[in-house]
């Protein structure tokens, strides 16, 4: 083993805060992946109006697309994901029922999204109809859509191949009763997100041997002191999930939060507010490992944080 290789190995093992070596050419031993994400964009096609409010002039799909394009021009392996509540919040939705929102996401080449409670707002049939404009799948593992317009349109998960990496992405949705009017969700059956997340993550890890598992969640970040299922509870009570991209609570997190899963492995949770004000970017560096370590407990070091 040469000295440089030894050092790389030991810094990874020690979870050191050293910067990753970005200049290192990507070879089979290391792989890089850039994950970009949004949540609760709520039909914000234009920037926030110039009304003296704190968000005036910020956001908007054309500016977000420019940022995404620039990142794509610099990195080969990019995943662009959304954690739901694409719909509702501006007149665009009242007039066009989600068509421009989905078209804009398709143009930005989103890879996948999950479904938020407000995506039911013009009815489940409307959501299914608007998906004709989508070039990306809707991932939800805990809604049983049997007998609804979404039955053959939603997938529980999807596996993305990026370089030599296999990335498993799945979704979980929030309890609908008491939140979404029954006439809008119809025959959709809500299932326990912890049970379905464990089932799906287990399949993605042990059967499909995914190198990374991402959960798109519309459960909400944290309901302190409440037993209501949240991303914090989901992270703690599951295994094999590496990253939870959250939504619903419109939480502006300064950086991803590191929590332990039921195996003692690290899980990252992140959420970027609402309204397309922020785009989150996570740059992951992967190294090759053996089968035993692959299924064992993992730790991740957060190398740095930048605000742009």
């Amino acid at each position: 083993m040469n000295r440089r290789h030894f050092l790389t190995q030991s810094t990874l093992a020690a979870g050191s805060l050293l910067l990753p070596n970005w200049s290192m050419a990507e070879d089979n031993a290391t792989q890089q992946l850039v994950i970009l994400h949004t949540n609760d964009v709520h039909s914000r096609i234009d920037p926030f109006p110039m009304d003296g409010g704190r968000n005036q002039g910020l956001g908007g799909v054309a500016s977000r697309a420019a940022v995404i394009n620039e990142i794509r021009s610099q990195h080969e392996h990019v995943l662009l994901l959304d954690a739901g509540d694409i719909f509702q919040g501006t007149p665009y939705f009242n007039l066009y029922k989600g068509e421009p929102e989905i078209k804009a996401m398709a143009a930005m080449q989103y890879d996948a999204c999950t479904m938020g409670n407000h995506d039911f707002d013009a009815g489940l049939d409307n959501f299914a109809t608007q998906l004709q404009h989508a070039a990306f799948p809707v991932l939800v593992s805990n809604y049983d859509f049997t007998g609804t317009a979404m039955e053959y349109k939603a997938l529980p998960y999807k596996i993305f191949k990026k370089g030599r990496l296999k990335i498993g992405v799945f979704g979980v949705g929030i309890e609908l009763e008491g939140l979404v009017p029954e006439n809008l969700y119809g025959k959709t059956i809500y299932q326990d997100p912890i049970v379905k997340a464990n089932e799906t993550a287990d399949l993605l890890k042990r059967k499909e041997k995914c190198d990374m598992i991402i959960c798109l969640s519309h459960l909400g970040y944290d309901y302190r002191g409440s037993k209501k299922v949240s991303d914090k509870i989901l992270a703690a009570e599951t295994q094999y999930i590496d990253l939870i991209i959250g939504g619903h609570t419109h939480t502006f997190m300064a950086e991803p939060e590191l929590v332990k899963n039921k195996q003692g492995s690290d899980v990252l949770i992140n959420q970027v507010g609402f309204g397309g004000l922020i785009l989150g970017r996570l740059d992951y560096v992967f190294s090759d490992t053996n089968k035993k370590k692959f299924f064992g407990s993992k730790s991740i070091s957060i190398a740095k944080k930048t605000d742009i």
């Binding site: 990874l12 910067l19 990753p20 109006p49 009304d51 409010g53 910020l58 908007g60 054309a62 500016s63 977000r64 697309a65 420019a66 940022v67 919040g89 501006t90 007149p91 665009y92 939705f93 009242n94 007039l95 066009y96 068509e99 421009p100 078209k103 804009a104 030599r164 009763e177 008491g178 939140l179 009017p181 041997k209 190198d211 950086e255 991803p256 990252l268 992140n270 970027v272 004000l277 922020i278 785009l279 989150g280 970017r281 996570l282 992951y284 992967f286 090759d288 490992t289 089968k291 370590k293 692959f294 993992k298 991740i300 070091s301 957060i302 190398a303 944080k305 930048t306 605000d307 742009i308």
Partner: protein
């Protein structure tokens, strides 16, 4: 090289490249991009242009004027007072019957504030994007007290036509049109269909009869502002707390 040996060599190399490889994420660097005005993607902009033109011509129409900035707050929710005043006033006209109070769920108020000055159609859409319908629900004083207790437990919702205080997550000192709440009296309450159908955990309302005329709550806000303007008035919310947290 003997042909057989060459065959084994190819097989061995082939085997190596097909061997399953396992990767593990060791490091992550985070970047948070604020989406600021500046560089825009022209193809996305063009894709949205036909929608934007239609929206802008509808939304920029000025319908009235506001005398002082209204805010969404839990205790003195002036923005919520405007909304519930509009619901109470317009529901009486649309349903052609007496209505005692109007309530607005806190989470349904979608702007943090409404700035003084011109009120446009767009201002109202920002405030009330949901296509919620106005419904009337008639209930006993006891049932209204239960509803207000639930509301108090959630931190309080704005009201028009009455007032209440919040103590230990319960509604106390409930007054409707300046009289104390009477348990056996019937009260008619203007609500959104969302709340009346059990939204925000208001399951106690689902068994009660609703009257619904397919009238959007957002139209009530627009009609209320327009009626003030037509009468030569500006929108002005009188001072005075309607919900006090004790």
């Amino acid at each position: 090289m003997k042909p057989l040996f060459r065959y084994f060599l190819i097989l061995a190399l082939g085997w190596q490249s097909c061997a399953p490889s396992y990767y593990q994420a060791g490091q992550m660097a985070y970047t948070r991009y604020d989406i600021k005005p500046g560089k825009k993607d022209s193809s996305v902009q063009q894709l949205m242009a036909p929608y934007a033109q239609q929206i802008n011509s509808t939304m920029t129409a000025v319908i009235g004027e506001l005398t002082s900035t209204l805010e969404k707050k839990q205790s003195d929710n002036t923005l919520g007072y405007f909304m519930t005043d509009a619901f109470l006033s317009e529901s009486k006209k649309v349903f052609q019957q007496p209505v005692d109070i109007a309530l607005m769920n806190f989470g349904g108020i979608r702007s943090p504030a409404m700035q003084k000055g011109n009120i446009t159609v767009g201002t109202i859409y920002e405030l009330m994007p949901f296509d919620n319908l106005m419904v009337l629900v008639t209930m006993s004083g006891t049932e209204l007290q239960q509803l207000l207790n639930h509301v108090a437990g959630r931190g309080g919702w704005p009201i028009s036509g009455g007032s209440y205080n919040i103590q230990n997550k319960q509604a106390v000192d409930v007054r409707i049109a300046d009289a104390a709440l009477q348990p056996n009296k019937q009260y008619t309450v203007a609500l959104s269909d969302y709340v009346a159908n059990g939204g925000d955990d208001c399951s106690m309302l689902t068994k009660l009869k609703q009257i619904n005329k397919g009238y959007l709550q957002r139209d009530a806000l627009i009609d209320y502002v327009k009626s003030l303007t037509a009468a030569g008035k500006k929108l002005d919310i009188p001072a005075g707390k309607r919900v006090n947290i004790l």
